[in-house]
Structures are given as structure tokens and as C-alpha cells.
Assembly symmetry: D2
Homo-oligomer: 178 residues x 4
């Protein structure tokens, strides 16, 4: 018996930056999605996760791959408000769409982070052309592996099978960044 | 005729972090000072200027060298308020004292930045044991050169002579970061 | 009309290291081949091409991918004799099979290098499961792109189509290294 | 009681490269000497020790600092003969004088390596203006520390005092490279 990959939970987004219209897993169906969950003050996100997402965006056709940021703030909320995020994206020249993960209203992890049961930031999510979550990695993958997984998903027409992956690098959890 | 190094202008600080009592050029007389002017959302400060200041702090005795940060915000003011700076220092494990440069009240460069006529961030300042500004570099110096300049200043008992220096790396100016 | 990828020319090897039996394009049919042509005294090979080949070897199954080195000496012949190459492979912990490209007998580029019309070192060659040359790049590819190309070739059962590629990094030509 | 720094043992050199006339500790008296002992097939020498020596050579005046390489081959002798070393220096664009440490005639560590009781390569030696060995470090020093030590020695007119130092990086010993 094989475990079928599950549908990727829909994102809960309070506000989008770098895009005129809201995006969703459903609306992007047909493309492969690389979603990078990050916090603007997470060192491993700044030095590794986000630059990798920018490289991936440059390496594949936008017809095949959508690169999306999810700003999943679970600590220092007041320090990373949208006004700060906006300046951050500007200074670091991050051009892909970024959704601000919907706060839970009581200072805990935001809603998308909860729906995906993320352990911290950065988290790398790969969603296939059918909207199914195929890779969920805490940290970032080596470039060789990410390139291979993206090419495999891009090459798939209809149905595929799950391939788990992920080796954390420098990451943040609710216990702090390491 | 030789140009005498000038007294370093006193810093104008709205608020200190990472120190119980306010610091000043005058109060630190007797030690060499490495002051790094930065903005928390300036990529070159995060990747180069601040890590170098941390290395310098680890390489020399605190009896000889005081390492100080100056948060000289001249753009995106609302994005880099003290609450954000505080979280930034925590996440990047920056332990040296940081002074928030006093805003000018009308959205321009803050007062210390003006007094030193800084061109942008990061800016590296070396102040000798007598409180005189000896190096003023836009960007960061190569480690070999910084080590050499600090050792020279630390080795000076009384009077010394100016040695200008500085080669910018990745920096921010009012026109943007490069 | 589409240009069919050509059969990869057979290697002409004077001596193999790191393998008990000689290897050939033909004998490896059924696997994807990553062949890295290098010189042990080419800086770009040492800092980039060879480490990337080692990463690729670790990232994919040996049932799918064969990683091969080709020592294509076209300058300083006396400096890079097999006795030196052997020590080099030992010190740099390069474990994959390396073939010494057959000298031409008159001090020019060796025979395999000529057969592939290589411009210098490193050169990256990707050969598909059917023994056809699919990528021929002077320099090394970005990891993301190499990972994607390897996954695509690995995923192919029978026939495929050419995808050219390649952006040189730090490389050596008969005019010198840059 | 203070331990006086000792006179640096004279080098025993079989052959010099990159210089028209032989060099010696004695002949260089009056300058500070940075001598880097290396092997051309030692990975840590290639990636760290030698580039640092090149940076130091660029950062200080040749009137103050002489940068010298010592090729101290203690393993794979046949692989690192002068003909190979010469090509290595050419390809890596190493322009400072390099002395080939005199073999002992029976395959053991060469004579200069023995005289200095070096543990492996790279080894960093700092010799003051009076020809005294002031720093002997297995591996390479951080740039900040090397810059500081060099500036201190350059700033000394007559007599000084010992300051030991050294933290190994990636190094080779007779047991192998790590």
C-alpha cells in the first residue's frame, strides 16, 4: 500500500505583497509551487532560504514554477509588522509574491503555519501541478536536491508519488534560532 | 605640516540597547573604539559589517577595545523602530552595546550620522585612546587591514598620526543599497 | 525538424584510477553519466567542478548515475603525471573513477578532449541512459540546474530530446586559467 | 622571568622559485617575515593558507613585510616535484618567492620542517625585524589576528616580547589531511 500525497492546505493570508491579486494553492493549480515560509528576522532565512528561492525563480520558467513567500511570524510579532516586511523585501530585492500569514489573534503561530504543522523557519514546501503537497522540509534543501525535485515535479503530467525530503540548515523554532 | 586628527564628535543617542548605562566617546576615553554605523535592513551591514564587528570584539581584550553599534536609520524609518531593532539584535545574537541614532525630527538622516558626515551604511569608525577619529570608512575594511589598524591604535600610548583608509563593500546610501 | 542528440564519443583512456576495471560510455549504457573533465592544477576545477561532482555523486543513487572524472591535461604535462594525480585524488578525497585522457603523443590536447571538442577545463558532460551526449558545458552549471538536468535524464526511460546548457565559471583554456 | 623569543632557524632550501637570488632569514633582517609552509596538494593550504599569504602581501608595504613560501613536502614526494610546483605556482598566480625545503634524503620530513619542529601544513611563521621567531602556528590565523600581529611587529623598532598564537584550520599532518 502506498500513501497518496495529500492536497496542500489552502494558505490563510492577511495581506499580499509584490502581487496585485491574491494567490492561492487552488488558483495556481497547473504549476509547480515552491513556497518558502520565512521570518524577516530569521538569520537562516535571510542567508539561505530566501536566496535559494530567488535562484529557483531564476532557473525555471514562470510557466512551470511559481515561487511564493509566506511570512509566518511566530515570535517578535511587533518587530515584524507589514511595514517592516515591506522595507525588508525592498532592501533585499525580493521580487516574488509574499503573503503575510494570518495571525491567530492570540500571539501564537499563525494559521497557515499551523495548518501545515511547520516546526519553524525557513520551511520549504513543494506542491505539484495538482495541488498536492509533495515535499515539506524544515530548513532548506541542497540546491542539487531542490533542482532535482523541481524538475521531477515539472516533468509530471498527471499523478505522482510522494517523496519526502529535507535536511535543516540554520533554522528558527519557537525555542530560538540556531 | 601634518594634519592633526580631530576629536570624534560626540554621539547623539535616543536610546541604548545591550547596555545598562549610556555610553559616550568621552566616557570611553582610554580605550580604542570600533563603532559600526548600520541599519538593521541594510544587507551589507547584516552580511559583512556586523559579523566583522563581532569578530573584532572576540579578537581583542575589552580593556583595549570597545565595540559599539550605531543604528543610523536614514530610510524606511517606520520599518526599523526600536522594537524591531531589539528583536534583530536578539535573533542575530549581537551582544555589544547599540545606540539608536537620534532622529532629526523631520525624516532626514539622524544627528550622529550628520555630525560624522556619513555617506551611508555600514560605516566603520575607529577612535583612538584619546578620543580622536582616526579612520572613517564607508563600507567595511578587509579583516587584515582592520586588525592592523586596531593593533596600531591599541599599541599607542599617547599621540599618534592620522592614517586614512577604507574601501566600500556592499553598502547603503540614501539612493539605495548596492 | 528536430536535431537528434548524438552518441557520445567513446573515451580514450591511458589509465584508470579509483576503479578495478576500465569503464566506457558503452559499458555504462543504462545509467546517466556525469563526466567532469578536469586538470588537477586548474583552480576552477579544484574549487568548483570537482566538489560539485562529489555532491552529485552523493545526491543520486549509483544505480541511476555514474560520476566519472576525465583528466584532460593540455598544458604543464610534466607537472600532472599520473603519480601526481594519484596523490591529488587521495588528498582531496575524490572517490569516483578517474580516467587519464590519452595523450596525443606530441604535446597537444589529449584524444578524448579532441573528440569532444572541449574548450578547456572544467568541462561538464551529461550523457543519457542511451549513451547520447545531452549537455556539454564549458565550466560548471549552477547546482540547481545540474540537479534539474540530472533528474530529467534519470526520469527518462527511452528516447528524449536535446537540451543545451552551460555557463562557464572559473575555467582554464589553452590561453590560461581565468 | 620572561622567555626571550629565539632566533628563527635558518631555512635549508634546495631551490628557489619566483626570485632571482636565494633568500635567508639573515638577509631579510630589518623586515618582518611572514613565512607560510605548505604543500601544493594540501587542500587547506590551497583554500586558506596561500590565499591569506597573498592578501597579506597586498595589504602591507614590501619595505615592511616579506612574504615567503616554504614548500615542505613530507608525503607523496614524487607527486610534488619542483616541475609540478612550478606549474602550481603559475596556475594559482602565486607571485611571492617560494623555497623548496631540502629533502632529508630518506623520505622523511625535510630539513627546515624539522628545524622548526612543524606538525604539518599549512604552518604560519612570523619573524620579527631582528630575525626572531615570534609566532609559530599550525594552520592559519584568522585575518583579524594576523593583521594585528603583523602591525604590531611592523611597529616595533628594536626589542619586543613573545606572543604565542595559533588555531589550526584545515590542515595536513603525517597522518593525513583534515
Amino acid at each position: 500500500m502506498m500513501i497518496e500525497p495529500e492536497a496542500a492546505p489552502e494558505w490563510k493570508i492577511a495581506q499580499w505583497l509584490n502581487t496585485r491579486m491574491p494567490l492561492s494553492v487552488d488558483a495556481l493549480r497547473g504549476k509547480v509551487i515552491l513556497a518558502i515560509a520565512f521570518q524577516m528576522l530569521c538569520p537562516g532565512c535571510v542567508s539561505q532560504g530566501l536566496p535559494q528561492a530567488q535562484r529557483a525563480r531564476a532557473a525555471f520558467s514562470p510557466d512551470d514554477l511559481a515561487v511564493i513567500g509566506l511570512h509566518t511570524v511566530f515570535e517578535h510579532h511587533a518587530a515584524m509588522m507589514p511595514v517592516s516586511l515591506e522595507a525588508f523585501l525592498h532592501e533585499y530585492r525580493i521580487g516574488f509574491p509574499v503573503g503575510v500569514d494570518q495571525p491567530d489573534g492570540s500571539g501564537g503561530p499563525p494559521l497557515t503555519m499551523r495548518a501545515y504543522e511547520m516546526r519553524g523557519t525557513p520551511t520549504t514546501l513543494l506542491i505539484d501541478r495538482q495541488g498536492r503537497l509533495r515535499t515539506h522540509a524544515f530548513g532548506h534543501l541542497p540546491d542539487l536536491q531542490l533542482g532535482a525535485e523541481l524538475a521531477t515535479l515539472i516533468g509530471e503530467p498527471p499523478l505522482g508519488s510522494t517523496r519526502p525530503s529535507g535536511e535543516p540548515g540554520s533554522v528558527c523554532t519557537p525555542e530560538g534560532c540556531s
